[in-house]
């Protein structure tokens, strides 16, 4: 079998697996659904942190905007469940992207750790504001409309919508990283001043990248809000201490700045978490902190980064013989 045929076979096989997974292991549908969500998190974070070199600690902001925008639309529009969810999710994505474009005017001018801490501030401020704003239920949060159908149907519905979103995110980024735009992102990461001197419109590039990342995150927020069923300002929508940190961690664990790294990181992280964390009871978050420190200090290249260093030939680069 040729290399090409093997690839097609692998793609078809994993496609079938994705379609069949909820029927093969019906007990784990929710976990699989969250896995897709994690993959969206890691991919969108890596678009900024890995490819563009802007390490955002506040991407959770867009997730929360999407969740709230969709829930408010579902509450006020008076449409049927599916119509309201579809339009609400689109609205969430667009609003999140618009917020990114607007905030980007000021924030994207910051570099390095100033960007990191500025975005961290934005994410937490958003949670605090949502927690005090009566229009979105203030501290008691928002509930979303009930799913019109059986429980099994509900979990299948969210499994396939989130799988579709993760796939759409992945394919969009895969296509994007192969274009001039992707190269330009990497140029900004490697040396922003030189990139600008070479004639790249860095401000536009950064805004476009952040908006794109925010768009997918906004949609994922809208879907996740409905999947969880209840939107708490600090523990679901703007959950900086869980989702917000996981995004960064998964992308780094898998390998920053690669296409597959975030996917692998998300899968490894999510599976580990599901298997081991129930045994840790209240100590999960302590373990999470320790994990961050350990990964950042001892394993900053991530899984793919380390493999690439060990086997450069497999990644398309030639090893130089000294």
């Amino acid at each position: 079998m040729s290399w090409r045929a093997a690839r097609y076979a692998a793609v078809a096989g994993s496609g079938l697996l994705v379609l069949a997974a909820p029927f093969l292991a019906p007990a784990f549908v929710t976990q699989f659904t969250f896995l897709w969500l994690m993959i969206v998190f890691a991919l969108t974070w890596d678009l900024m942190g890995g490819q563009l070199g802007y390490n955002s600690f506040g991407n959770i902001l867009f997730f929360g905007i999407g969740a709230y925008a969709c829930a408010v639309f579902q509450r006020d529009s008076g449409l049927g469940y599916y119509e309201a969810l579809a339009i609400g999710a689109a609205l969430g994505g667009v609003l999140a992207a618009a917020a990114a474009a607007f905030l980007g005017l000021g924030i994207l001018g910051l570099r390095g750790h100033y960007f990191a801490i500025g975005t961290l501030g934005l994410g937490i401020a958003a949670g605090e504001i949502a927690g005090g704003w009566d229009y979105v239920g203030a501290g008691s949060g928002m509930t979303v409309p009930l799913f019109p159908g059986a429980l099994e149907l509900r979990s299948l519905f969210f499994y396939f919508t989130l799988a579709a979103l993760a796939l759409a995110t992945f394919l969009t980024l895969r296509w994007l990283y192969g274009t001039r735009f992707g190269l330009a992102l990497n140029a900004v990461r490697d040396d922003e001043d030189k990139a600008e001197a070479m004639g790249l419109y860095t401000a536009r590039l950064k805004t476009a990248a952040w908006s794109l990342s925010a768009f997918f995150l906004g949609i994922s927020g809208a879907l996740a809000g409905n999947l969880i069923g209840f939107i708490d300002p600090r523990d679901v929508a703007f959950a900086g201490a869980t989702y917000g940190v996981w995004m960064v961690l998964m992308a780094i664990l898998g390998g920053k700045g690669t296409l597959w790294g975030p996917v692998i990181g998300a899968a490894v992280f999510h599976i580990t978490q599901e298997i081991f964390w129930t045994y840790l009871l209240g100590w999960q978050r302590v373990a999470l902190g320790l994990l961050i420190v350990a990964i950042v200090v001892f394993f900053p290249q991530g899984i793919l980064g380390t493999l690439r260093e060990k086997f450069p030939g497999r990644f398309g680069s030639k090893a130089e013989v000294q």
Binding site: L110, Y114, G132, W283
Partner: protein, 300 residues
């Protein structure tokens, strides 16, 4: 919101009360900001654990009081305990991230802050705790402005510690070594300064400062395990406004931030106070950066 704003003008005494109380808490921010400026200037690390040191200092003071020791003795005990913790953290983690790029150190200290936060949540519980120092209340303007004496004590103690720190850096041998290392670590080590020890001492000293600040916070206000991050952001905000090497500016910025927070918290509602601090930080960053961008530069 507008009503509250107008109220400040109708009752100037209320404004004075808010602003004074704010200035007093500002002194504690100054203490934490000194520590952050020290670590930033010497180790070139932005220490996200800062606020957790404050929080832990508070819990140590609380435990010391519960063990039957005089309440005010809790402050030096907190400083000492945090000094040891800071030294330990340096030896375990921080020394590994000093020469790495800033993202690594920000994320590593962020991870440490989660660890400490969650550990104290498990160990001490999530309740809001406070410690009664047993001091009275100071009445000003015929009793219109009430200041708890412990807050006044905290104010002067914080500023006194700041002065001590300055004297220590200026005249003591270790202080001079710290300043030399901040200027040029390579040259300092050529001249026989053990820079690794200087880094460890600086980091531990920072933790001790925060610990003392935490002891004051638990007596004059309150603490809980999740109080850390706002203190980190406040120190960061003060340092970016004031600059790293400028002690007078740090004091002014810290006191100003305290007063601003209290007055703004009153106008917009205390539920937004934390959000205001974070937004103010973002605005200050963006504003400073925009001014630099006119000269084709950016914040470094």
């Amino acid at each position: 919101m507008i009503d509250n704003f107008l109220l400040l003008f109708d009752y100037p005494v209320l404004s004075a009360d808010l602003a004074l109380n704010g200035l007093l808490i500002g002194a504690v921010f100054v203490l934490a900001a000194f520590g952050m400026a020290l670590v930033w200037g010497v180790l070139n690390i932005i220490n996200i654990v800062q606020g957790e040191f404050v929080m832990l200092g508070g819990f140590v003071a609380l435990m010391a009081a519960e063990a039957g020791l005089p309440v005010l003795l809790g402050i030096p005990i907190a400083a000492l305990a945090l000094f040891i913790l800071g030294w330990g953290l340096y030896r375990l983690v921080i020394f590994r991230v000093i020469d790495r790029d800033l993202f690594v150190s920000v994320l590593a200290t962020f991870g440490l802050s989660i660890v400490l936060q969650q550990l104290s949540n498990e160990l001490f519980g999530a309740d809001v705790r406070t410690l009664e120092a047993g001091l009275g209340t100071l009445l000003l303007f015929d009793g219109a402005v009430a200041l708890a004496q412990i807050k006044v004590l905290a104010f002067f103690l914080a500023l006194g510690l700041g002065l001590l720190l300055w004297l220590f850096l200026k005249y003591s041998r270790l202080g001079q070594a710290i300043r030399a290392t901040a200027q040029n670590p390579r040259a300092a080590s050529i001249l026989g300064i053990d820079t690794d020890r200087v880094y460890a001492a600086t980091y531990a000293l920072n933790a001790a400062l925060c610990g003392a600040a935490g002891g004051l916070v638990v007596m004059a206000w309150a603490i809980h395990p999740y109080i850390g991050l706002p203190y980190t952001v406040r120190s960061f905000l003060i340092v970016i406004v004031a600059g790293i090497g400028n002690i007078g500016a740090v004091v002014a910025a810290g006191l100003g931030l305290g007063a601003f927070e209290n007055v703004a918290g009153f106008i917009f509602g205390t539920e937004y106070q934390i959000a205001l601090v974070f937004l103010l930080m973002v605005l200050v960053l963006v504003w400073r950066n925009l001014r630099l961008q006119r000269k084709r530069m950016y914040l470094k």
